[in-house]
């Protein structure tokens, strides 16, 4: 089972690495770049919101901050198009972190629905600042980024593809590490019962803030990469509330709190968005389909694809068990009741 899992992960990695060579079509590669960017962002978002249960609908603020950070640094430091702007991405992430620490510290004083509303409010404050701090952001006229003039034709997307893939792998590694660490167990405990976790020595405040900030770091880097990829940014598109909705939808579709779920959500929804936009010719049409999908997910697959599949596998294993002569009848337990191990559908299981 474990060998199978490792083998399929390696196969997927090989596919991801060779993708631009197999499909040199720029239109296809462009969708692939966007998919990887979103996958990296959702994976990092999930390491905060999925594990801790604090649903942030405001991390797009750090995407926007990262976008503007790269644009402003390129302008002020006269960075030419080419490989150099990629080196600014960690810096863009750190600038997002500098905003995320105080903003997260304030937002995390609240819980549940209030937290969601506070993150949304903070997002719109940042968007307004992008409009109004004209001396820094150039206001609604937007900013241009350097153009990598030497990357022509089919090659243009390739550097972006591999940088986005690198960000995704880094995000996956961080998410996997957190999930298996003592720290991550604390986040999961916070998701289940924050006050009880505090009473067992879990320092909930720093735990939550750290995860919030780690997610913001990745949003900052992805935002910076996206800005460089699209070459010009405007307040309404760098600070886009749809990014937050997309991210949440992807995580819920794939499986909130799982490792692979958010990536699966991105792989399904980003190409779907591009397809609907091209197919129906109206840029906003996919939003209606997304709305319908969101309802369908909540009604039919409230835990997401990955946990639903896991539960199905467990059920079939539990059914097959007695046939193979394993695990006989449930033993009587002390409290006078028995537990069916097979019926558990733990939403927190990682893949």
């Amino acid at each position: 089972m474990k060998a199978l899992r490792t083998a399929s992960a390696l196969a997927l990695l090989a596919l991801a690495v060779s993708f631009p060579l197999v499909f040199p079509n720029p239109a296809v590669d462009q969708v692939a770049v966007l998919t990887l960017m979103f996958a990296a962002a959702v994976t990092a978002w999930n390491a905060f919101s999925g594990y801790s249960g604090y649903i942030s609908i405001g991390h797009a603020a750090y995407f926007g901050i990262g976008s503007y950070a790269v644009a402003i640094l390129c302008r002020d430091w006269h960075v030419p198009g080419g490989w150099l702007p990629f080196l600014l991405l960690p810096l863009a992430g750190l600038i997002a972190v500098a905003f995320a620490v105080p903003m997260g510290w304030v937002a995390l004083r609240t819980r549940r629905h209030t937290f969601v509303i506070v993150t949304i409010a903070m997002f719109f404050i940042m968007q307004l600042m992008a409009y109004n701090l004209r001396s820094v952001t150039n206001g609604s006229r937007g900013m241009s980024l350097p153009i990598p003039v030497r990357w022509g034709g089919a090659f243009y997307d390739v550097p972006f593809y591999y940088v986005a893939l690198g960000l995704l792998l880094l995000a996956l590694f961080v998410s996997w590490w957190i999930r298996n660490s003592k720290y991550g167990l604390g986040l999961l405990a916070i998701r289940d019962d924050e006050d009880r976790a505090r009473g067992l020595g879990v320092r909930t405040g720093p735990f939550k803030l750290t995860a919030f900030v780690v997610a913001a770091f990745f949003f900052g880097m992805v935002g910076g990469l996206h800005a460089y990829f699209v070459e010009s940014i405007f307040p309404a598109f760098a600070f886009d509330p749809l990014i937050d909705l997309m991210v949440a939808l992807m995580a819920f579709l794939g499986g909130l709190g799982t490792l692979a779920g958010p990536v699966l959500g991105a792989v399904i929804l980003v190409p779907a968005q591009q397809y609907f936009t091209i197919e129906f010719g109206k840029p906003g049409f996919y939003l209606m389909i997304y709305g319908a999908m969101f309802l369908a997910i909540i009604l039919l697959l409230p835990q997401g694809i990955i946990p639903a599949l896991q539960a199905r596998v467990r059920r079939s294993e539990a059914l097959a068990g007695p046939l193979r002569g394993e695990g006989g009848g449930p033993e009587p337990t002390l409290a006078g009741s028995s537990v069916e191990a097979g019926q558990g559908e733990s939403g927190g299981d990682g893949v």
Binding site: Y183, L185, A189, D195, R196, G336, G344
Partner: protein, 243 residues
């Protein structure tokens, strides 16, 4: 000096005074019962001592150290664990994961290490054996029965080896076989030196287990002594019967 001392605690919620100058001491190595009619302030006193509520006035000392209004995570790290009246476990984590939440580690290096390796693991398994839940270690905790959840909550508090454990109605809603089992476990731990303070309405349980009983009414302690003496104290009868 007592292990745990609360002196002159006052706590009001709006106009309702839950604790009105309440004082209590718990001796090291004792099994102390805390009884009183509903609404007399027992759970609020627990909350104040474990950092879940801040006090308006008064002082809490633990092992000679002032812990008034210290946060719950710090109180636990200092060696005071508690269980809740309505049992609180982590429903989506497995039984074993629940056990590991309470294992204490300090510093980034400890927190970034894997939760499932190291000697904490042996301790967690040992305690699951102690309460008889070993067989269920990989089951999500929400699938346990109520009694099993109580045992799990009791067991994971023990992971950090606290000096004193505050139990809020450990025998509430639990069948008689289980109550006997729990009594045995508490005695065994007490013999190893763990101090207990417990709120309980089951008089048989309290009188049989505790070596000292404190009675509360209207936010103050009104009697304090050996179980037999307390049982026949006229002030206690008055509080319970409302005469």
């Amino acid at each position: 000096m007592s292990l745990l001392e609360a002196t002159g605690i006052r706590k009001a919620f709006g106009g309702v005074v839950a604790l009105d100058g309440c004082s209590i001491t718990v001796e090291k190595g004792s099994l102390t019962g805390l009884i009183g009619p509903n609404g007399s302030g027992k759970t609020t006193l627990f909350n104040v001592m474990t950092g879940y509520e801040t006090v308006d006035m008064g002082e809490v000392r633990f092992g000679g150290r002032r812990i008034t209004n210290v946060a719950p995570d710090r109180v636990f790290q200092l060696g005071m664990g508690r269980t809740f009246q309505l049992t609180r476990i982590f429903p989506r984590l497995t039984v074993l994961e629940n056990m590991h939440v309470a294992a204490q580690r300090q510093g980034p290096a400890g927190l970034l290490g894997r939760w499932s390796s190291s000697k904490e693991h042996a301790r967690a398994l040992e305690l699951l054996e102690f309460v008889g839940l070993t067989r269920l270690k990989d089951v999500p905790a929400r699938n346990l029965s109520y009694g099993q959840k109580k045992l799990l909550e009791f067991a994971y508090v023990l992971v950090a080896e606290p000096q004193v454990i505050l139990l809020d109605e450990p025998a509430g809603g639990v069948n008689p076989t289980m109550i006997r089992y729990l009594t045995e476990r508490i005695r065994a731990l007490n013999e190893q030196g763990v101090t207990f303070l417990m709120v309980e309405h089951n008089m048989e349980f309290v009188m049989g287990l505790c070596d000292r009983v404190v009675v509360m009414n209207h936010g103050v302690t009104i009697a304090d002594g050996e179980p037999e003496a307390v049982r026949s104290d006229p002030r206690v009868l008055e509080a319970y019967l409302g005469a």
